[in-house]
Symmetry: C2
């Protein structure tokens, strides 16, 4: 078991954390990044702490970038969770125990934390997930197959999805979740997995085309025995 190094108190604003619900689309369904603290069976959203000389937004962006290797990330703030019971006592102690690391009861990470939750949208295919210094494993999970998450992280996922749904029609959400070129069906599947309901194909196509946000390219021949769909890209770039 590798030695772990906890974040140092003097580097970060105390009692303040952030967590990110990182959404990716694998072509079929929406997935989010969840990490597991090794051997402890504690699952959590990726998160971190804010340095004294760092903007909150930048801290979150850096963290998501480090976790995923990507720089093209759509970040939106969802909600700040400030319940006084938000503390990591058991989780952190378990982690330290597993790693044979001494931790005092008055360690700053055992205190109460306020956490600002963000969602991130990015291109699933380009991601290579990186574990961090706390030596955890990390992976993609479907929304309906999430493991039990620590603290209020489950609530964060709900809130993130809720905010994402509200933003869907005005924020060109597909842009960061899809590859450069995609079919109308791809886009519809993205919408359906975010809204968690089926959409009417013909009405969806009509509505999206009327928005005038797509450029139509060549057809995509999949080898299947039916009419080939057009490829599209977003024209807003």
């Amino acid at each position: 078991m590798k030695k772990i190094v906890l974040p140092k108190k003097e580097d970060f604003i105390p009692h303040l954390a952030y967590d990110a619900v990182i959404f990716g689309f694998n072509g079929t369904e929406l997935k989010i990044v969840v990490l597991e603290y090794q051997k402890t069976h504690h699952f959590a959203l990726p998160g971190g702490f804010v340095q004294y000389n760092q903007n909150l937004d930048d801290a979150v962006y850096q963290s998501v970038k480090n976790r995923t290797g990507l720089t093209d990330i759509q970040l939106e703030q969802c909600h700040t969770f400030g319940n006084q019971k938000r503390r990591n006592k058991k989780v952190l102690k378990d982690i330290c125990k597993v790693h044979d690391h001494q931790i005092n009861d008055d360690h700053w990470l055992l205190d109460r934390f306020i956490s600002v939750c963000y969602y991130a949208l990015l291109n699933f295919e380009e991601v290579t997930l990186q574990s961090d210094g706390l030596s955890d494993s990390i992976g993609w999970y479907s929304l309906d197959e999430l493991p039990e998450l620590i603290l209020d992280h489950k609530e964060m996922v709900s809130k993130a999805l809720e905010v994402l749904q509200k933003n869907l029609d005005e924020k060109l959400v597909g842009m960061n979740l899809l590859p450069e070129k995609f079919t109308m069906k791809d886009l519809q599947t993205v919408y359906e997995s975010i809204l968690q309901k089926k959409l009417v194909r013909t009405a969806f196509q009509r509505k999206i085309l009327a928005k005038d946000i797509l450029v139509r390219h060549e057809k995509k021949y999949t080898g299947k025995a039916h009419k080939a769909p057009y490829l599209y890209s977003f024209n807003s770039a």
Copy 2:
């Protein structure tokens, strides 16, 4: 000039504040509460700090309650402002100077603060505004007659209004802004001042009545020479 007492470091979570955009409706237009630190010409949103054993939401609620004397308040979180430049140095020093109060450069209130912004909706007529220990004056201001506000408080007002607009159709916003009984015109004026645009009278009435959220009561005779409108109340209580 009265002696001031600054909040004590040991009572509150450092670097964490909240601010509230308190909306009231005076029958004609939307107003918000702004306070002025006496003689310093610094105007600010009412805000405060979170105690170690206090939920964030509760802290904000208590603060708004203390400022307004009301308990029936609709509170919604808008956004958390985390720019590293958010510090009150000049403002606080000016206040202390005016009050002949010594403050050290390393005072905790001079540090960087992250602030969680909320909006509050309440019944304008029932409010009696209370100044607080920092000995400031406090009053209602129209959105289009706001004085210059400290830090990013102007941005907070914009964000609050934006979130309020988004919530307008699903959150029964009128309930806390209007008295128990009100006319259709009153409700329409509330909607118009929030959305900052004129609405079509007949369509508005039709839409609201179709929602089935109002109970119709007796007519309201204003003494004017025209048909008297009905009074309504919300039925969701």
